[in-house]
């Protein structure tokens, strides 16, 4: 027998053992039992454990997470989606990774508690080290080219977080101060940071340290001190803006204005926008069932989505039609629905994995169902 057959045989033995383990645990999987003891092991669904929570300001904190063995790493500037149980309900949010790849293998995100933000308030004020969270692999195209160049970062409020991730990777801070790495010499960075006021700005200290060390040029604009930023002043604030590639992260208003500004001048712009978390809830709306070829048909606020879809010819799963049997549930890809029994609103963003009963929920804005 050739030696090449050996690993093949090993794989076959492993397959066979897996099948025996599956036969012994059916209808569950061996993983369901292993998860009880080793939720972060290789081969498990990607999870992480919160190990440290460092308060940054009164309403922001950095969460340090030990990711599961299958964490594939990230590039500075990327974000990750975290699923955490808040009052018993699994909620998913995206946060920028605020450190470059760390030597200790852990990852960190910095979260600012926003008004009415269920997840952000929970992470900043309630979460405790030891909590298990659910993760997705890092994602996002908001990353710097490895060869370097001239850059302008425009950040507003918590939009600073992906940028801090990039800067910390380029210019690590130690007890002895900011370190200049050979690989970072090709990066010429200016940061224009906008915030309501100086102390309110998270990571402001980091930015100042980097500026004092002379590795970045910092232009800080605080609304209460300098007035609200007018992009017409951009050329005077950053005279060589035309020579730089702009990376911007912040609220939609600022990003839109920048897009117009740069478009007019033919400048390169990369943006990262996090959702604001406020979804407009309406009385009635539209229904989209893309797999069934239904696009934005009218759905009033009093008719169950099940009836609206059936009326439009969609083959819908259904059951009791009174909210009892859960035979009609479907994933809500995106949108808001209202429970006709008690008015309760359920909202979902793409990737949230929210499943709704269609027989007692009506549209509360545009609704996209997976059917």
């Amino acid at each position: 027998m050739s030696s090449a057959a050996l690993p093949h045989r090993g794989a076959r033995l492993r397959d066979r053992l897996t099948r025996v383990a599956e036969a012994a645990t059916t209808p569950l999987l061996p993983a369901d039992y292993l998860d009880m003891f080793a939720p972060l092991r290789s081969g498990a669904d990607l999870r992480g454990r919160i190990e440290e929570i460092h308060p940054e300001t009164a309403d922001a904190a950095t969460i340090v997470i030990r990711p599961g063995a299958d964490w594939a790493g990230h590039v500075p500037g990327q974000y990750l989606r975290i699923g955490i149980d808040v009052d018993g309900v699994r909620l998913w949010r995206a946060y920028s990774l605020t450190h470059g790849p760390r030597a200790d293998g852990r990852i960190s995100v910095t979260v600012k508690a926003v008004p009415d933000g269920k997840v952000s308030n929970h992470l900043v004020h309630q979460a405790r080290p030891g909590t298990l969270v659910h993760l997705e692999q890092a994602a996002g195209e908001f990353v710097l080219p490895p060869e370097g160049g001239k850059f302008l970062f425009v950040t507003a409020g918590s939009g600073i977080t992906p940028v801090i991730g990039m800067l910390r990777n380029l210019f690590p801070a130690t007890d002895e101060g900011v370190v200049r790495l050979p690989r970072s010499e090709a990066f010429d960075v200016t940061v224009l940071h906008v915030a309501p006021s100086a102390p309110d700005s998270i990571f402001a200290t980091n930015l100042r340290e980097l500026a004092e060390a002379g590795v970045i040029d910092l232009v800080a604009r605080y609304d209460d001190e300098h007035g609200v930023l007018d992009l017409a002043d951009l050329e005077s604030l950053v005279p060589d803006v035309g020579a730089r590639a702009t990376y911007a992260c912040g609220p939609a208003g600022l990003l839109d204005a920048l897009a117009v500004h740069h478009d007019e001048r033919g400048l390169a712009l990369f943006v990262e926008q996090f959702r604001t978390g406020t979804r407009v809830v309406a009385e009635g709306g539209t229904l989209t069932c893309s797999k069934s070829g239904i696009d934005s048909i009218e759905a009033d606020g009093a008719t169950p989505l099940l009836d609206v879809a059936e009326e439009a010819g969609v083959l819908m799963p259904s059951g009791c039609r009174m909210g009892v049997c859960f035979g009609c549930v479907l994933p809500l890809r995106e949108g808001s629905v209202r429970d006709l029994r008690n008015g309760e609103i359920t909202s979902a963003e793409p990737g949230d994995n929210v499943i709704v009963q269609t027989c007692i929920n009506a549209a509360a804005g545009p609704v996209d169902l997976v059917v």
């Binding site: 009791c320 008690n342 009963q357």
Partner: protein
């Protein structure tokens, strides 16, 4: 024996004759408010409860199966079998049945969700959800619509026509109790109806469903009667008998508990036409009249998967099971205020009552001396809708 039956024996009293249509709707609103009070406080405490139960159940099952590796020693056999039977009961009742009802869907945890849960039972989750959640819970106790009434093999109501075949129904019921999981699988497949004609036997829908069921049964049997015995080595035969015994205990227990839910004497049944145009209040009322509770300790409620709170479960099948005990006093108070009979008795009393009915109805009507009345229609009389009962033929 329940009060309502004694009353009906005497004068065939309509249990809801004293309620006006407006009162029935007010009853519905009060029940909606109870439901909402649970929804408003549903959260971390409940999530922690179900996670704890699932973890404990898996630990108990794992531990019991580990002990059974040495089942050749009688104490190990006894401990392992008891543990495994308890683990299977908890899995089927407090976890499986309730998760598949969607009681925990609100947590948005894909691993504890009605759309993904598969239980340690012969019947595939998909088929169980259809026959149980959809048919039984919607058409509770409606003769001809709710197959849970006698599971299609027994006569459990005077309105069902007697046939000599029913003489043997106490025996059927006992055999069904011993192999209840297969009874459920056959029932979920509507085997009786689907095997009755060539056309039904050959329907692709039935063939596909039967295939899924057979695969599930094969997997279940392979686990309990092949893999675990083989892994036990010298204890193979004793592990096999332990697993068989655990399944038997689980079957007898679940069958007994489920019989108590709707079969005890005095629980009402309804005619098909009685639910035409049924309002929400009337639906609630039907659930109230058609279910019976088991009284007992916390441990007893837990081991029945809180189906001992059958009344509360039927009113609110999607509320987390750990909350039924909390709302039971409010529901009971509602029964009292609306002059309705809250059926509740200890397990032996309810089991005996259900068996009494099975035995009594194995004989033709009149052979036993207590024909029960059946609610026949929800009709408008004197300007109000009411449930009207008709003496059994």
């Amino acid at each position: 024996m329940t009060t309502i039956q004694t009353k009906s024996k005497a004068d065939q009293t309509d249990p809801v004759a004293h309620l006006s249509a407006a009162q029935v709707e007010e009853l519905g609103r009060e029940l909606d408010a109870i439901r909402q009070s649970v929804l408003d406080t549903r959260g971390e405490r409940d999530a922690a409860y179900i996670r704890k139960v699932i973890k404990a159940q898996r630990g108990l099952e794992l531990g019991s199966r580990a002990v059974l590796l040495a089942s050749i020693f009688p104490p190990a056999w006894f401990v392992g079998t008891t543990g495994l039977a308890v683990a299977k009961i908890i899995e089927n009742m407090e976890i499986g049945h309730n998760v598949m009802h969607g009681q925990w869907d609100w947590m948005r945890d894909p691993k504890i969700h009605s759309t993904t849960w598969e239980w340690d039972n012969a019947s595939p989750a998909e088929q169980w959800k259809h026959s149980h959640n959809e048919l039984h819970h919607t058409y509770t106790n409606v003769i001809g619509k709710d197959n849970d009434l006698g599971y299609g093999i027994m006569r459990v109501d005077e309105e069902q026509r007697w046939h000599p075949m029913y003489l043997a129904q106490p025996l059927w019921n006992f055999i069904n109790a011993c192999f209840f999981e297969y009874g459920i699988a056959a029932y979920d497949l509507e085997l009786g109806k689907n095997l009755s004609s060539k056309k039904r036997r050959r329907s692709p829908q039935f063939k596909a469903a039967a295939k899924v069921t057979l695969k599930k049964i094969r997997n279940q049997m392979t686990k309990d009667y092949v893999v675990h015995p083989l892994v036990s080595g010298p204890s193979a035969l004793t592990t096999l008998s332990a697993n068989f015994t655990a399944n038997l205990i689980r079957n007898l227990w679940t069958h007994s508990v489920i019989m108590c839910g709707h079969f005890p004497e005095g629980v009402e049944t309804f005619e098909k036409k009685s639910i035409d145009g049924e309002t929400r209040g009337e639906w609630y009322l039907r659930q109230m009249l058609g279910s019976a509770n088991i009284s007992g300790s916390k441990a007893m409620h837990f081991m029945t998967g809180n189906l001992s709170h059958q009344v509360e479960h039927h009113l609110f099948p999607d509320l987390p099971s750990n909350r039924y005990a909390e709302i039971a006093p409010q529901v009971q108070d509602l029964f009292r205020r609306y002059g309705l009979n809250y059926h509740s008795a200890p397990l032996p009393v309810q089991v005996a009552s259900a068996w009494h009915k099975v035995i009594r109805l194995s004989l033709p009507n009149g052979a036993s001396k207590a024909p029960l009345a059946t609610v026949t229609a929800l009709t408008t009389k004197q300007g109000r809708r009411e449930l009207r009962r008709r003496p059994a033929a």
